[in-house]
């Protein structure tokens, strides 16, 4: 099986076992949680947006398959430091590319869960 077909590639398993910013972000300004209704994967993402429109910090929590959890880790690692506009421009396709391994439509939903949650979180100020 060629490496891009392998959805449990080493760097993915690395993110699964040693995730980027898994946890809570007490200083979050924006947050959103959603799930993949068919699978039950859940992801919550908390963002801290600073005054000049940048994602200055981000954490995720949740439960689910390797793909949904590793992809959340990868996504946050890639987004921290970016501007809100850059995050908005980050497309579903970009997310699948970032993940790297080729996924069937069913599993793409797992991979896009955290991406959907981030996009929604931008519009979900905490305490609003």
């Amino acid at each position: 099986m060629p490496s891009e077909e392998e959805i449990y590639q080493d760097h993915i398993l690395d993110h699964y076992e040693d995730p980027f910013h898994r946890g809570k972000l007490p200083t979050a300004t924006h947050a959103h949680e959603d799930k993949n209704p068919l699978c039950g994967d859940v992801v919550r993402i908390e963002l801290q947006l600073d005054r000049d429109g940048r994602v200055s910090d981000a954490y995720f929590s949740g439960d689910g398959c390797v793909i949904s959890q590793a992809s959340a880790s990868m996504l946050l690692e890639a987004l921290v430091g970016k501007t809100v506009d850059e995050v908005k421009e980050f497309s579903a396709e970009d997310m699948l590319k970032l993940y790297g391994a080729r996924l069937t439509p069913n599993r793409q939903k797992c991979c896009l869960l955290s991406w959907r949650v981030v996009q929604q979180a931008l519009y979900s100020p905490v305490g609003a």
Binding site: Y8, H11, E17, D18, P19
Partner: protein, 420 residues
């Protein structure tokens, strides 16, 4: 496991789909039967012959093909009657599946009989198809949903039943076999208790009718619903059994052709049973295929099918319970039908299913349409292997080995993400 309980492996040859390899050279090991079964050549052939030789719309035609088609459709009904031990053919309503059957009862019987404050008795192991229609009914009528509690090992806890089953209870809806836990529920005992307080009983037989002998009169239940696709039959066909007095008193649900006696410009009168509940052109060839599936299952014998699955599930239980980090759901093998669901501490159910698939082993991962049960168990998903008459000991062993391999692969190893 007594080897004598097993069915001969040669019957796999009746099922054309099982002969294939997947992912290159992996023999297909199909353990997703609780979601939907496969079908023997005889069932496929019955449908092809109907379409290729004897097909026309039923009932209303005075010509050869319509007569043949009508005879075959009604013969299927009589096969279902015998299969379920029902007293009359007009107690057999063809539907599009279990879900449709339960919804029919909830709408037609439910709307006509329930009032605010009446109670509907359910339990948390039910499939969404035997929960949501009752939630909708409760919302329409103001009736209240209550639940029989579950024991630690996933059986109905009937100890304090009279706390839940009271003269306010109008209906008890229960699955004969849990599609997630495998639990075989004491339907007959429950039906007796329900009738004692004047409640009616609906049985979700989606997971029992394919695997265990069913006798509605012996069980003394009022309604029973099943799906053809889970019992070697076609998709798009199911059966609702209902006791004649109840069905006769119920208003029709769907309006249309066949279900009428007389239609005027702005009103209608209903046909007799079973037509009253079969509006429109029925799933004719689906019913014929279901009839062929019943012939096939009866020729083998439901008792032998159950014994075979019993042997497989014991072996699966035994083997899987030795996998590190596993949690098996539901009661011990003797109390269950031929399926087993589990969670590993890692990885997630979907990853297990995906990795098993690569070995050619088809299992299901997710909530299996039992979210309230998963909530109750404190999990979001599980992996389920479900057996049928064509599965073998070798397949069970392959499952056990593959699950062990998956767990090994995801054992914590101190991996580190590459830091940017």
């Amino acid at each position: 496991m007594t080897a004598s309980a097993l069915l001969p492996e040669s019957l796999r040859q009746d099922f054309p789909i099982l002969a294939q390899h997947v992912h290159g050279d992996k023999p297909l090991v199909f353990l997703d039967n609780a979601a939907s079964s496969q079908r023997p050549e005889a069932v496929i052939k019955a449908m092809v012959e109907s379409y290729a030789c004897d097909y026309a719309n039923v009932h209303r035609g005075i010509h050869v093909l319509s007569e043949r088609s009508t005879d075959a459709y009604e013969l299927a009904r009589s096969k279902v009657r015998a299969f379920l031990g029902a007293a009359y053919e007009h107690e057999i309503i063809f539907t599009s599946g279990t879900t449709a059957g339960i919804n029919l009862v909830a709408r037609s019987w439910g709307d006509a009989n329930l009032r605010a404050g009446d109670e509907i008795l359910l339990n948390l192991m039910e499939h969404h198809s035997n929960l949501v229609p009752w939630f909708q009914l409760a919302e329409r009528t103001g009736a209240v949903v209550r639940h029989i509690p579950l024991t630690e090992d996933g059986r109905l806890d009937l100890y304090d039943l009279d706390e839940y089953l009271t003269p306010r209870t109008r209906i008890v809806a229960v699955t004969a076999v849990s599609n997630t836990l495998g639990t075989i529920n004491p339907v007959r005992e429950l039906a007796r208790a329900a009738h004692d307080v004047g409640a009616v009983v609906l049985v979700d037989a989606a997971q029992s009718a394919p695997h265990l002998r069913t006798d509605v009169q012996e069980l003394d239940v009022d309604f029973l619903a099943l799906s053809g696709h889970k019992m070697c039959g076609p998709t798009g066909i199911g059966v609702l059994y209902g006791r004649a007095e109840l069905l006769e008193a119920m208003p029709p649900m769907f309006g249309g052709g066949s279900m009428i006696n007389r239609v005027y410009a702005d009103r209608f009168t209903s046909a007799d049973l079973p037509a009253k509940f079969e509006a429109g052109t029925p799933p004719i060839v689906g019913a014929i295929g279901l009839g062929a599936a019943i012939d096939y299952l009866e020729a083998i014998g439901l008792d032998r099918i159950h014994a075979h699955e019993q042997a497989l599930v014991e072996r699966a239980w035994e083997g899987l319970s030795q996998v590190e980090g596993i949690r098996l759901l539901g009661p011990r093998p003797e109390l269950r039908a031929g399926l087993v669901s589990f969670v590993l501490d890692r990885p997630h159910a979907h990853d297990i299913a995906q990795l098993l698939d690569r070995e050619g082993i088809a299992v299901r991962a997710g909530h299996h349409c039992t979210q309230p049960l998963h909530d109750h168990l404190g999990i979001t998903a599980s992996t389920r292997a479900s057996f049928y008459l064509y599965n073998t000991v070798g397949e069970v062993d392959a499952l056990i080995a593959a699950v062990r391999d998956v767990r090994d692969r995801f054992k914590p190893t101190g991996r580190k993400r590459r830091r940017a």
